[in-house]
Symmetry: D2
Subunit: 230 residues, 4 copies
């Protein structure tokens, strides 16, 4: 995420160079990342398709973002306004891009293991009672989604780690969440390889969670919560 | 928010004291806050009703939270599971409680003013182009909501301040948001005093934003973003 | 509803007359109806505001309908397409217009009474067990809505009368429903007169249901179900 | 749909026989239908999985329906009530069961053709301008869904045939719709066979629409509209 440029910087570059605004616009709101995913439990066709999907979301987020620059804010209303529609599309595509990046980065570790002396183990154990209770709760969230996501996140309201069930990309999303473990439960994640057997897919993904990546997120989350309490 | 207790602490207290678990459970997931709101633009009947509503959300969040402690996670599914229903209710009531606290705290300053040398002014100006552009965009978001909220938040994905349109309490919510300015656009906020004239209500509330409160949130948000970049 | 013109007729008129297309377009998708509502339980300010709201929905449905005539169908996609946004707005405003018409027409009878020899009484008693059970179920649906509607409808799937809980105007809506009793539970219906006391509003409206209007709807619904069974 | 029993009949049978109520309850709210689908464009693994999915929805609709018989209506509220959750699940599963039945019945005709002298051809041509315009609009709706459905339906409000975009099973659903052409656009319909290429799946399904089935639905819809106008 550190490669993101401020939108205003983008506009300065755009006006200086006087080149095709829309394309430049699109290339800077979010920048597509590359992921090298090898999992014993996902076919390469599935992975390739999933990356294409993610790439599409990044492009569409940038496209919507560019359209919003000039959308009419005076006519904004709840029923029939381009501004409202674009704002909803913005959140939809932005969440999709963000969640896919977090998901790709935290799966596919064929030698996955969690150590008891990690912050991840300690924090999840603390806030869910035991580490197994976290896992059980997380998997129940994943199994509850109607095409969507399960996410473990630091909640800036309760100041604890919680799990949530997201439908599609932006329904049932907690306000004030900092995501640390992300599982894609859209049917596009598993239907090619597992058809309707989402449970087998989920167990496979849980076995391959990339804990060192999650550890770094939880380290940041922990500093973040100290900062909010100070 | 610093008054919140960790859920595990709650359970330790509960098991030590061996008193009525459910009630204690309920009283600790979130604790109702007191707000002293005086606005030239809202009647006391409206304010009193709004506080009752908030109080109800806190109670219901705690109730749902307590029920979740024992909900069956094995039967979790997308179509007919108590666990799923409770998780959705959890996010609904938790968001409602959180957003109302942020809203109550950031309105009603009858001597409101924003100084150009504040971090609030500088950050909103930077990320929206000008301070006026932020205001225009925020008000357009507020006018776009179908019973819901407008929120200015720090986005942990784009690492910039953005505005969003929330419908009800948990639809169209960005993942990775840290809220800094919050406006209630449910019809319950303004119908008693303004009937359908949401625009007059909105302008009145904008005139009375409590900038010192927002300034503290943005100071934290700014430290937060530095932490995430490090 | 019998005053509605077929959209094609509209286009023929438009092309023949060669007058301002958009306005003509708008005036024919739905035509605003007049309602004369006098209720001991609703203030005239509330009623006047509610009629304005309805009028706005009809206008916006017609506006969206006109925009859809020329929207680009080739670029239709789930993430960022004007066509998709307009189709969602179409259903939102169309449902709002339709439901408000049904609601206005079935409330405000200051001498309301239901006779046991009416089809309404018999059908609701049959499908809910007793007439009281229908009423209890309907009121529970009304109290369950998060800003929305309670509707008794003939379900073309189960071929029986059922109640549903609609959030906003188009969420949780049964497929294949023919509405017969409609209650507005958006906060705009009762906040001016009752603040958050939706229950008192609801009881008042139930006392004033216009049963002769409902009877005609149920007579049609009953013929309709015979037709579907034939 | 003619095999459905009235719920009260069910209860009479139940009380007479004094057998295990829940099971009987479940077996009568909706009864699973058998479909014999052979399509050159769908693998048998895909079809078998899809039928299982449908079967699950019927079972869950019946389960939810049975639970609703005894759910507490006094505590119904918008935030944390079992009754509300069950009503939402009821609509979700009922719509899923109904739409799948209509979908299975109207696809898979390997010798599909539409004749210009059919009511289907004439009505769709009339209300969309041309038959091709209907097809283009319907396909645009299908491509617009975020996991959901495209449906051509008779709208009892506008009294014309329209297309709609449904997300999941119950969002953006028009009130007063009688469905006549139904296309499943959940990712479960095509990911096994087509991965993310929903367009190829859609074109294949359109080529195999079972027009004689649709014709019967439109014949009923036409009688229905005459009845409503009378």
């Amino acid at each position: 995420m550190d490669a993101l440029f401020n939108k205003k910087v983008k506009n300065i570059i755009k006006s200086t160079l006087d080149i095709d605004g829309i394309d430049l616009n699109e290339s800077f709101s979010a920048q597509e990342k590359k992921f090298d995913i090898h999992s014993d439990y996902l076919t390469s066709a599935n992975i390739a398709n999933h990356k294409e999907l993610y790439s599409k979301y990044v492009k569409r987020f940038n496209l919507v973002s560019a359209k919003l620059d000039t959308a009419d804010r005076n006519d904004a209303n709840p029923d029939s306004s381009q501004f409202r529609s674009l704002k909803l599309d913005e959140t939809h595509n932005m969440n999709a891009a963000y969640l896919h990046e977090l998901y790709f980065a935290n799966i596919g570790d064929n030698n996955s293991r969690i150590n008891m002396d990690t912050l991840s183990y300690m924090r999840l154990s603390r806030d869910f009672g035991t580490f197994d209770a976290w896992q059980q709760d997380f998997m129940a969230c994943a199994q509850s989604s109607q095409c969507g996501w399960a996410v473990t996140y630091l909640n800036t309201y309760t100041q604890s780690y919680m799990n949530c069930v997201i439908d599609l990309h932006s329904n049932n999303v907690p306000v004030g969440m900092y995501p640390v473990v992300v599982m894609d439960m859209w049917q596009h994640s598993y239907y090619k390889d597992y058809l309707g057997d989402s449970k087998t897919y989920l167990i496979a993904m849980m076995k391959q969670l990339r804990w060192p990546v999650i550890e770094k997120r939880i380290e940041k989350a922990d500093k973040l919560i100290n900062l909010l309490r100070s």
